[in-house]
């Protein structure tokens, strides 16, 4: 039974909103959550989860190319069926979103299906198919997330132009694709389509793809992806899109002049913008925003009393786990605690193959900030487990401060996104190199590489000679 008054109302059921709702309910609050489209938000429906399901398919296919080496013979190339892959992805999504719904039920959270609008008195109106419901709340947490940003340019609303909301249900693999934007989403999708058999071009306006990634790591990834046939074009701005001879024509400009690219599809992955559908009334009533995002303090309070904002709606990392942590903090504050958000240790996963993960500062940023740092790397080629699973590309790189503390850690290689947590824990727990080097790591595992990088900082890596080390450095 729904009610007319709640302790906490949450608008949006993405990883920010649904976690906030659970957290508040766990502590005894009466909670409502409003979702207009899909439980689990971007993350579970068109973001993290479907992309990882499809990347899993793509990576498997990629690995099959060299399966002969392992003594297994398959028809080459293996037969790939996009429709079946999509239905695998759908099953994954369904299972995960169903999980969110049952979590809401289990925590006695009332779910309202419809578009929620809020006003300054914290009255929430839920609209669905012209019908309205209303309730009031002591505290409101805004978690309306983000949507793909489609920059205005000629031809951008044409046929066969996809974005990260609409690229998941293709019935067959595109012949070719021009991905506009070389950020994390663009590069993950480029990597995926390339492995599924699409001819991919990435066009990035900035001088580099994956701008926030450590330079050395980025360079290696660019080399690997280029070798696979992905055409990465940087420092190039897309001006317009048109149709020509049944193909999409993308017209770009650089310092040197105009250029044209052709492909079956265009994927727009330039950026995302905050989703303020349903918030216009609040904004009219004075909700403070900054460059299109809601402004909050470190307790995630907006300028309007009793109203919090979290996740992609505010300025931040644009990551699901950050949205969720913000949800926990906002919920704690909404029910009377005093918690603050700390963004110092945020792990960043990138699901290309090889994967990339990093936490803390890049080497360049660390050099700018501190005069006294040590940087070391350790290659996967010297780790038994990596050799055994035939994934020896990449390395682990640590950036250490003068007290032996971790300033940053960067991994490119197998399972990087799981491995990074050891370094995150070390940073958050303020461990120093000693605690990591003195910890026994199981053999044979990839985690040994994390310890070896730290041993290298101490000048005593075990599984690499002094000469090899220089080679690894020179890269």
């Amino acid at each position: 039974m729904t009610s007319t008054h709640y302790d906490v109302a949450v608008i949006g059921a993405g990883p920010g909103g649904y976690v906030a709702a659970i957290r508040a309910a766990q502590q005894g609050a009466k909670v409502a959550i409003v979702e207009k489209q899909y439980m689990g938000g971007t993350c579970l429906n068109v973001g993290c989860i479907p992309s990882k399901a499809m990347l899993h398919v793509a990576e498997t296919l990629h690995q099959l190319a060299s399966i002969e080496d392992l003594g297994i013979t398959l028809p080459q190339p293996p037969v790939f069926n996009m429709k079946k892959a999509v239905s695998f992805k759908d099953k994954v999504v369904k299972r995960m979103t169903g999980g969110v719904s049952s979590l809401m039920k289990a925590n006695n959270i009332d779910v309202f299906d419809g578009l929620g609008t809020v006003d300054i008195s914290k009255t929430v109106t839920v609209t669905k198919n012209g019908e309205q419901q209303q309730f009031s709340a002591d505290k409101v947490i805004l978690a309306t997330g983000s949507v793909p940003l489609i920059p205005p340019m000629p031809g951008v609303d044409g046929d066969k132009i996809m974005n990260s909301d609409t690229c998941w249900n293709l019935s067959k693999t595109p012949e070719s694709l021009i991905c506009v934007g070389g950020g994390v989403i663009g590069i993950e999708l480029a990597c995926m389509f390339n492995a599924l058999g699409t001819q991919v071009t990435v066009i990035e306006m900035l001088p580099n793809i994956l701008a926030p990634v450590d330079e050395e790591v980025r360079k290696l990834l660019v080399r690997i992806l280029s070798k696979r046939g992905i055409n990465i074009v940087t420092g190039t701005k897309v001006e317009s899109i048109a149709d020509e001879n049944g193909q999409k024509k993308v017209v770009t400009s650089t310092d040197k002049g105009q250029q044209e690219f052709y492909g079956e599809y265009v994927l727009m992955a330039v950026s995302r913008r905050a989703n303020i559908a349903g918030l216009d009334k609040l904004i009219e009533q004075g909700l403070d925003t900054d460059r299109g995002r809601v402004r909050v303090n470190d307790k995630l309070e907006t300028n309007l009393p009793g109203i919090y904002a979290i996740g992609d709606l505010i300025h931040g990392a644009g990551l699901a786990h950050v949205a969720s942590t913000e949800g926990e903090i906002a919920a704690d504050n909404a029910i009377g605690h005093s918690a603050t958000m700390n963004y110092e240790v945020v792990p960043n996963p990138i699901y290309t193959f090889p994967e990339i993960a990093f936490v803390g500062l890049t080497e360049a940023a660390a050099r700018e900030k501190y005069s006294d740092i040590r940087v070391e790397r350790f290659p996967w080629a010297a780790i038994g487990k990596a050799v055994a699973i035939d994934e020896t590309e990449g390395f682990t790189k640590v950036i250490i401060g003068k007290y032996g503390e971790f300033l940053g850690a960067h991994i490119i290689g197998p399972d990087a996104t799981n491995l990074i947590s050891e370094y995150s824990l070390a940073m958050r727990g303020e461990l120093t190199v000693e605690e990591v080097s003195e910890t026994i790591h199981p053999h044979p595992t990839l985690s040994e590489g994390l310890r070896e990088a730290v041993l290298a900082v101490e000048g005593r890596p075990l599984h690499i000679g002094p000469k090899q080390k220089q080679v690894a450095r020179a890269r």
């Binding site: 942590t325 918690a339 700390n342 003068k402 007290y403 032996g404 303020e430």
Partner: protein, 429 residues
């Protein structure tokens, strides 16, 4: 089961702080073997075990204080070995710490930073991150001085940085805005902890001994808490040196010679009889005048400084003073001073005259209120009846606690010391 109790190591000792356990639970202990180091009000001492066996439990952990007589460890057969602090949780202090931690509403989220809570000193370890410990070590910060703001009251990097920042802002004291006309100019005092020292690769890092740590802490406290002021005077030592020579010439082989320092000790002691205010301590808003005049003499020892005490120096003859001083200095240098030797000083003298020092200021040795810094005596032309005459002139500087002592008193006291040393027969009483 035999307990090791906090021993009484000096007359005035009420409690002792364990600075280091030399034995850990499970270790074998012989009778008479040193098990721990303890710091009393006066000195760092060792605690010996009165029984043999296995150290089963440490009840008072490093950094904690126990009153005399309280059990600090259990020595037994080894059947009940427990890790440090296991029982310490039962002491009221520890219990309180636990209660404080539990009472603080603590959002369990990893990134939330709860309001600072008092540092739960559980399990005998100060809750602190490895990074915080490293930084503290490098900057010579005692973690016990800090409150942790991390999860569960853990001391984290921020706390150390805040502390360092605080220290940095506590630079040279503001000029004394005294309501009474300031009697003396106070030399600028440098902050105890200036900007952190960047370690060069070839710098050697030496950990402080327990004695050095105590010195560091006490003198830091003194400089930070005691408003020092300094008054200097020149003393004509010509006659005193002449008499000393005569006195020493008559002792012959094996007799105790009187040093210049002995003369100064005697003069200071007699002057204190006349100026009892200077023989004093400040304590909690009270001015404490000491009846006995016990003079501490600073002795440099390998890796530090000790201040053994000559009791009732005003009542002792010069020869007795000289004998006692000689014995104390020898004991200090041999590392054999007992707490009684170090106890109860009411005034101190630091003499660097033999190192040809022209003048210096000494740091007060709390709770005493004054210390005399003695420089070298030098042949100097001084006007006598308007004629330049060569005399032995010695510069002295008295550092005094401005909470209880004022310029005029100290200046007069110093005049009295000067009068006694310049009229040396007055010391022979």
């Amino acid at each position: 089961m035999p307990d090791v109790n906090m021993p009484r190591l000096s007359d005035t000792m009420e409690e002792g702080t364990i600075t280091r356990w030399l034995k850990q639970p499970g270790d074998k202990v012989k009778k008479g073997e040193v098990v721990a180091e303890v710091e009393t009000d006066k000195a760092n001492m060792e605690i010996e075990s009165f029984s043999a066996g296995i150290l089963e439990q440490i009840l008072v952990v490093e950094g904690e204080t126990a009153p005399i007589g309280q059990p600090i460890a259990i020595i037994g057969t080894g059947a009940n070995v427990q890790q440090a602090g296991a029982k310490a949780a039962a002491t009221p202090q520890a219990q309180q710490a636990v209660a404080v931690t539990a009472a603080a509403p603590e959002p369990a989220s990893a990134t939330s930073t709860p309001a600072p809570v008092s540092n739960g000193n559980q399990n005998g370890l100060i809750k602190s991150s490895p990074l915080a410990r490293r930084m503290a070590e490098e900057h010579g910060i005692e973690l016990t001085q800090l409150k942790g703001s991390g999860p569960g009251g853990r001391i984290v990097r921020d706390d150390i940085e805040d502390y360092l920042e605080q220290q940095r802002t506590m630079t040279a004291p503001a000029p004394a805005a005294a309501p009474t006309p300031a009697p003396v100019a106070v030399p600028a005092v440098k902050a105890a902890t200036p900007t952190p020292v960047a370690l060069a690769e070839d710098d050697e890092v030496v950990s402080l001994s327990s004695m050095q740590k105590t010195i560091a802490r006490r003198l830091t406290e003194s400089k930070q808490l005691v408003p020092h002021f300094y008054i200097g005077n020149d003393i004509d030592l010509t006659d005193a040196l002449g008499m000393r020579q005569k006195l020493n010439a008559s002792v012959g082989e094996g007799g105790v010679k009187i040093s210049v320092n002995d003369l100064i000790v005697k003069a200071c002691a007699l002057a204190l009889e006349k100026f009892p205010e200077v023989n004093s301590s400040y304590r909690d808003g009270q001015f404490i005048l000491h009846k006995h005049i016990n003079i501490g003499i600073a002795v440099d020892v390998p890796g530090g400084l000790l201040v053994p005490v000559i009791r009732d120096a005003n009542l002792k003859g010069l020869r007795t003073l000289a004998r006692e001083a000689k014995a104390l200095i020898a004991k200090a240098q041999a590392g054999k001073l007992t707490p009684t030797d170090l106890d109860g000083g009411t005034f101190s003298i630091s003499n660097l005259g033999m190192m040809d020092v022209s003048d210096f200021n000494a740091v007060i040795n709390p709770p005493q209120s004054a210390i005399l810094a003695v420089a070298a005596s030098r042949k100097t032309f001084v006007p006598v009846d308007n004629q330049p005459v060569l005399r032995d002139i010695m510069h002295v500087t008295l550092s005094a606690d401005h909470r209880i002592l004022y310029g005029a008193t100290v200046a007069r006291y110093l005049q009295e010391v000067k009068r006694l040393l310049q009229n040396i027969y007055l010391l022979l009483g």
